[in-house]
């Protein structure tokens, strides 16, 4: 198969659950060789999280794990044992990148601080993806997606819409593990940046990624508005004033439609047949529209409620007004768009069978995203990695297995 | 599947390694329904012990585990978690027998002492197989095959030919976990006795089995000889029974031959062609033979060395003198005898494939020893047991899984 963008890049992933593994996945999907290190026995925590086929939990059938770890080699290793520590050092010695998401103090206690590892391998890029980073007062805080999401401010501006008493509702975390995904994504960008540097300078770097910052970084426009306009936000119905894109109920569902900007407003009013109310000066420019948005929305919705989602979308598309139905993932999976873009691939996994996975979100013309291998079974590549690459004998494997090292 | 002798018994096996599981296996092979409770993640530590196919360690391919757990249902459960403890008690409610092999203090600390469990199920037979039993100064000692074997006196009297200076050699452990297996075997036997006691009373029992005692019990004749006759059980060759049971070298191997009484000796001498040395006073009776045995053995061996193992065995058996070649397991696996008895069975296992296992040690004419299912994969029957029998929902399963309870 033709070379991929990251072919030849050797990555060791000493990470658990979502953030680190997502970073590793992004590298692996583009051809990097990622050796995932899991603790013997339970393995990656994601193995215990669903979804599971028929809802029957099985460590090799977790949808979350399968998605996050396709294209990786999997080994088991207890780095807390002397042997395990030695082996991890050997792996790092041969690697270009180490992706880890362990508590900073633990990493230091185990003797894997970047300083030591860079002595073993001066070219090593070490990416540490942790909830609050390697420095600062919160660095040793224990955290999970919920905590980080709230610590970033995202939960607070996440709208509480369509519930009674929006203000009575607590701030809202995003679905799934958005915080961990965003942290892993930032980690992948930072890692590649460091890799490019070390190609030039020949020396590695320690990349310190903070999940709180990765999420706060998503908030940059709010932060800018706060910094410059001193704006603050209450958790009202969500839509910040003036953000005049909104969802509209139709006869058979909902669409999300954007018509606040002058251009789209004109096109959309035309599409609705230039209703009289639209002539009212309440709606003449985007500032006034923003002030009277509730009225505007009500009028538009009156029109959309009489029409099906399909009609509204067709009308909007025809007049080039941004609009789409509010979909379930099911609708996405079955959409003509997904089909036309080959957005889903069947991946066959020995234990989980053939399941549809979403592919990479971008297409590289020369070096395509590719499924080389399904997610590894726990310890599936112990023999390949430890015997074939590090030169241990099988007899020694059995000793290490019984000793709980692998 | 025909009815088996123990088909009506329901057993929970909360045990790992060899002794407890071997006890459970012996009962499962005769039809008892054994539900094996394993720690989530690593499972039974026997999964880490070889032999492994091609010597590649794999938790589902351990020969030790496969053999010891054939015919059992397997569930995962962390009884140390509170949810786990609740679930465990519900398993106990429905069981006739609990087999466990944990240190007494641990069991008590977890609240699973017999006193507590009999409140849950008064008819419960609880079999505790531990290193040194439930009482006495060593009751919390930890052990393994080696330690128990030596603590029983068996190692000390285990003979030691063929080494230059026996006094320099340490006492000798028996091969292949014999010390653990004897404990499991004795455990199964005493468990059944408690089942009989229950028939009369409707009440359960606590079976307190000490591995040390199970092994000491194997040496009862030596003990008797010592206590009564003060027979000196030294570790040298005298430990043997000169002129009675003996290893002889032949031209192409070794045989083991026994002349247990005068008639056998006479038949054997005849088989050797009544050599003159055998007619001399020196070997007239057993007592004399014992005294002059070094000479006697030399003479016999002179004769056997000129013959092949096959010849010697044929001649001995022709004159009804017990004698067999000293085999490796290879010869026994391929022997006409065991083939004819149908002793070995091929079992197909999802992960390990087809392997030949030793089968029944005895034949029950009406209720045969039987392979009903291969050893369970880790947690293979969680859904069947927890949902099917204890009435948990699949969602409960996914929650318990993610919480690490199962």
């Amino acid at each position: 198969m033709s070379g991929q963008a990251l072919s030849g890049l050797k990555v060791v992933e000493w990470s658990d659950f979502v953030s680190g593994p997502y970073c590793g996945k992004l590298l692996a999907d583009l051809g990097a060789e990622v050796i995932k290190v899991e603790r013997p026995g339970t393995g990656d925590k994601a193995r215990s999280y669903g979804p599971f086929p028929q809802d029957i939990p099985h460590p090799e059938k977790s949808g979350l794990f399968l998605y996050l770890n396709t294209n990786k080699l999997g080994v088991t290793l207890d780095v807390r044992t002397a042997t395990g520590a030695q082996i991890l050092s050997k792996l790092v010695e041969q690697a270009d990148v180490l992706v880890e998401n362990n508590p900073p103090r633990e990493v230091e206690e185990l003797g894997f601080a970047y300083k030591r590892l860079s002595e073993i391998n001066p070219r090593l890029v070490m990416a540490s993806i942790t909830p609050f980073g390697q420095t600062g007062p919160y660095r040793d805080y224990r955290s999970c997606d919920l905590i980080s999401f709230n610590a970033s401010g995202l939960a607070f501006v996440n709208p509480s819409d369509g519930v009674e008493d929006p203000e009575g509702q607590p701030p809202l975390k995003g679905p799934g593990h958005q915080g961990d995904f965003v942290a892993g994504l930032s980690g992948a960008v930072a890692t590649m940046a460091a890799v490019l540097t070390s190609r030039v300078t020949g020396s590695g770097q320690h990349v310190d990624v903070s999940e709180q910052e990765a999420l706060a970084s998503i908030m940059r426009s709010y932060l800018g508005l706060h910094a410059i306009e001193a704006m603050t936000w209450k958790r009202l119905k969500g839509s910040i004033p003036g953000m005049v894109s909104d969802k509209y109920h139709c006869a058979d569902g909902m669409v999300y439609l954007l018509c606040g900007q002058d251009r789209f407003w004109a096109q959309w009013m035309k599409a609705m047949g230039d209703p009289d109310w639209a002539q009212n000066e309440l709606f003449q420019d985007r500032i006034s529209r923003r002030e009277n948005w509730d009225a505007a929305k009500a009028m538009i919705e009156e029109w959309t409620r009489e029409r099906t989602v399909e009609e509204v979308v067709r009308t909007a598309d025809a007049s080039r007004v941004p609009c789409r139905p509010i979909n379930t993932v099911k609708a996405l999976a079955n959409s003509e768009l997904a089909a036309a873009r080959d957005y889903f691939v069947d991946v066959d996994h020995k234990e989980a069978g053939t399941v549809k996975y979403p592919v990479g979100p971008f297409k590289l013309s020369q070096t395509p995203w590719r499924v080389q291998r399904p997610a590894p079974l726990l310890g599936e590549h112990n023999e390949e990695v430890y015997c074939n690459r590090l030169g241990y004998t099988r007899q020694e494997l059995t000793v290490m297995r019984a000793g709980g090292v692998i | 599947m025909s009815m088996q002798a123990l088909s009506s018994l329901k057993i929970v096996e909360w045990a790992e390694g060899v002794p407890g599981p071997y006890c459970g296996k012996l009962l499962a092979d005769l039809g008892a329904e054994v539900t094996k409770v394993e720690m989530p993640g690593c499972g039974d530590r026997a999964r880490k012990r070889g032999p492994f196919p091609d010597d590649i360690p794999h938790p589902e391919r351990s020969g030790t585990f496969l053999y010891l757990n054939t015919n059992k249902l397997g569930v995962t459960l962390d009884v140390r978690s509170r949810t786990g403890a609740e679930v465990f008690k519900r398993l106990i409610e429905g069981a006739d027998i609990l087999i466990e092999n944990h240190p007494p203090s641990d069991v008590a600390r977890l609240g699973f002492s017999y006193e507590n469990l009999k409140k849950v199920n008064p008819a419960l037979v609880m079999t505790s197989i531990t290193a040194f039993g439930q009482t006495g100064p060593y009751c919390d000692y930890s052990t393994c095959n080696l330690v128990s074997f030596h603590a029983s006196g068996m190692a000390y009297i285990n003979p030691s030919d063929g080494v230059d200076d026996i006094e320099q050699e340490p006492p000798l452990m028996g091969p292949a976990n014999q010390g653990d297996l004897v404990a499991g075997l004795t455990g199964a036997l005493t468990t059944m006795s408690a089942v009989f006691a229950r028939r009369m009373t409707g009440l359960g029992q606590h079976v307190d089995l000490s591995q040390q005692e199970a092994l000491v019990s194997m040496t009862r004749h030596q003990l008797g000889n010592y206590t009564v006759e003060q027979f000196p059980w030294l570790r040298a060759k005298e430990a043997r029974r000169p002129g009675v049971s003996e290893v002889y070298r032949c031209s192409n191997g070794l045989v083991y031959l026994i002349c247990n009484d005068e008639r056998m000796w006479e038949r054997w001498v005849e088989a050797m062609g009544n050599p003159e040395w055998a007619m001399t006073e020196l070997f007239a009776d057993r007592a004399l033979r014992r005294e002059n045995w070094d000479a006697g053995k030399a003479m016999v061996e002179e004769w056997t060395m000129e013959r092949t193992v096959e010849e010697v065995v044929r001649l001995a058996e022709a004159s009804r003198v017990p004698c067999k070649a000293i085999n490796t397991v290879r010869e026994s696996v391929h022997s006409e005898l065991l083939a004819d008895r149908g002793h070995f069975v091929d079992i197909h296992h999802g992960e390990a494939g087809n392997i030949t296992y030793p089968g029944a040690p005895y034949k029950l004419s009406r209720t045969p020893w039987q392979v009903n299912r291969p050893a369970p994969l880790l947690g293979e029957h969680n859904e069947e047991v927890y949902c099917g029998r204890l009435g948990f929902t699949r969602q409960d399963l996914t929650v318990m899984r993610a919480q690490g309870v199962i």
């Binding site: 044992t81 042997t83 030695q86 000793g403 | 009506s8 012990r49 032999p51 039993g133 100064p137 930890s142 393994c144 080696l146 330690v147 128990s148 030596h150 029983s152 003979p159 030919d161 006492p171 000798l172 452990m173 091969p175 292949a176 075997l185 036997l189 006795s193 089942v195 028939r199 009369m200 009373t201 009440l203 606590h206 089995l209 000490s210 005692e213 019990s217 194997m218 009862r220 030596q222 003990l223 008797g224 000889n225 010592y226 029974r241 290893v247 083991y256 017990p322 000293i326 085999n327 397991v329 008895r341 296992y357 030793p358 029944a360 040690p361 005895y362 029950l364 004419s365 009406r366 209720t367």
Partner: protein, 413 residues
Amino acid sequence: MSTGGGTQNTVQKLPLEGIRVIDFTAVWAGPHVTQWLAVMGAEVIKIESRLRPDMIRAYWNLQSTGHSINSEFAEFNYGKKGCTLNMTQPRAREIVRELVGISDVVTENFGGAVMDRWGLGYAELAAIKPDIIMYAGSGFGRTGPYKEFPAFAGIAEAFAGLCHLNGYPGGDPRPMATFGYADVTSAEHGALAILAALHHREETGEGQYIDLSMTEVVSSLLFQPIMDYTMNGRVQGRQGNRDSVMAPHSCYRCRGDDEWVAIAVSSDEEWRSFCDAMGNPAWTGDERFRDALGRWRNQDELDALIGDWTRNHAHYEVAEMLQRVGVMAGPSLKMEEVIQDRHLRERGFHLDVDQPGLGTWCLAALPWRLSDVPPGNYEHAPELGEHNEYVFGELLSMSAEEIARLEEEQVIY
């Protein structure tokens, strides 16, 4: 036997009370089966005759007493009743049939199909008592090419591959623990099979025939080397005290005369505790020993160094030091030490019983302890024919004259 569901006050009964066993077995393998049944409360009637006493009675009689008892016989036959019947006499076989009629189990371990020749095969016995359970223990099984061959433990161990595995690396193969290992393990398998059969009889009223092969018992106890062979074609050799994965894992010389202690370390944690217990001598810091793999690779040197430490202590002392820090260790006990071992004593494993012919002596109990039943039936071993009166008089209600006549005719003999 009494049908189940009794009440609390019967709790003091032994499990097999009401079960009667007619026992033709001799030597070790058979008698140990019925000994288990006897201790559990079954009434075991051992049938011998002066023409055919249990060879162990005659054997190994190191001190001549006026009795037909020696220590070894006693160790395998306590708790039983003994009667004498000359089975070469048709009348004797008649009497046996009568006994079978009022019994639950018949056991034998002859060198061949002796029972068949006596007309006492399973078919005949089942005709007399349909739910009878018959146990036949033999070296190679009651079917197959060797069914008529005599066999002893060592033979079965040799044939099944145990001898080949038992010994020091480089040493010679030998049967386990001097002799009788296959006998005693087979006996326990046999007793288990009988209990299972009794259980089935309780459920269904069906009896059955149990055919136990010592060779197969040994084979089933060797599943690890056997499966290594069937999986990988490897034939394991003698490993002494070594383990396939643990190190250190051996037996080390201690201070006293030929005193040894067994030590096994299975993890890095245990290794650290072990080093602490030894006071961390310099060598424990050695690179070679820092991890499980290194220790396993270098266990020769390791064993030597550990031996240097253990040599300065008594074996019990080492065991206690190490157990205190959670390291597996135990003294390698000699017979006399086993008998004096304070732990076994405290648990009451050794019982002092009065044995006619031996006086009061200390026997090894069975490793059998139930919470709510008496310690078990540990009656002294029977003299030859000691219970003839009970068996023929009480059980078969023969008159004294009849018994006398049968003795004259050498039927009871």
